[in-house]
Symmetry: C2
Subunit: 153 residues, 2 copies
């Protein structure tokens, strides 16, 4: 599952992560190569799934999504059926930007982006009405110190 990438592949990924709108010529210059090899490598990395997709990153505040919560969830239910239903609910809700199943005491963590605290409460009420949850702790973000999609390559 781990892709075999050489130094040039990694340089290309670094450049694409910083700014995917650059032309092939610009990328080639930045990594010290030329169009064709860069084009072939990007094509291959798309096909093998190293590059998942290309997206525009938006400013959540500018869109009026001014509140961000991390939600710690404990559950008493561990059957496959409950879990499948919980996953469906999370995937269906666009305000849930991340959801992880955890090891240990806390079972799940969510990252939720909403307009304000009231909108979070609406989300929370909907969630607990849709699936049975034992314990929830919401951590309110006061300040986004860092937020990046750039992985160290």
């Amino acid at each position: 599952m781990v892709a075999q990438l050489d130094e040039l592949d990694r340089k290309i990924l670094g450049v694409l992560q910083e700014d995917a709108s650059q032309s092939l010529d610009e990328i080639a210059r930045a990594v010290g190569s030329s169009k064709t090899p860069v084009w072939n490598r990007i094509k291959r990395m798309r096909e093998t799934g190293v590059i998942l997709r290309q997206t525009a990153l938006l400013d959540a505040e500018a869109l009026g999504l001014e509140a961000c919560f991390f939600v710690l969830i404990r559950t008493s239910e561990h059957e496959a059926d409950w879990q499948r239903r919980f996953l469906e609910v999370l995937r269906a809700r666009p305000e849930v930007l991340e959801a992880h199943r955890l090891a240990g005491d806390i079972d799940y963590i969510l990252k939720v982006r909403v307009k304000n605290a009231r909108a979070y409460d609406t989300f929370y009420q909907a969630l607990i009405s849709e699936v049975r949850i034992y314990n929830v702790t919401a951590l309110l973000s006061m300040e986004e110190i860092k937020s990046t999609t750039v992985l160290p390559v």
Copy 2:
């Protein structure tokens, strides 16, 4: 700070978030408009900062970054000086993908992507040697249920 966007702007943002590699013609068709208005609106949304940047999203697993931790941090230090130093350290470390200052009991939450548990420990040892921290809880992700950069527009 909240941008004024009409229905067409929001449709364009939706399409760009799903796939920013599409041509103007494709985007225009998808939102029921034509090239020039779409181009003008994208340009304006870039300039006003609604669209932050365009990026390639990579598969962390394919890059060998197979471990993800959420790190809950309590500190006894609340001076501006300590905080500035802490921020610098987090911004300088590429394995820290997110960092938020929180309201309440827990002061900070980090999302950290690394190769394995050993690499997390290396990061942790480096962090506590660089800044004074009172209490740290690491939550290990077993499964990424959902992960999206798509904001509800």
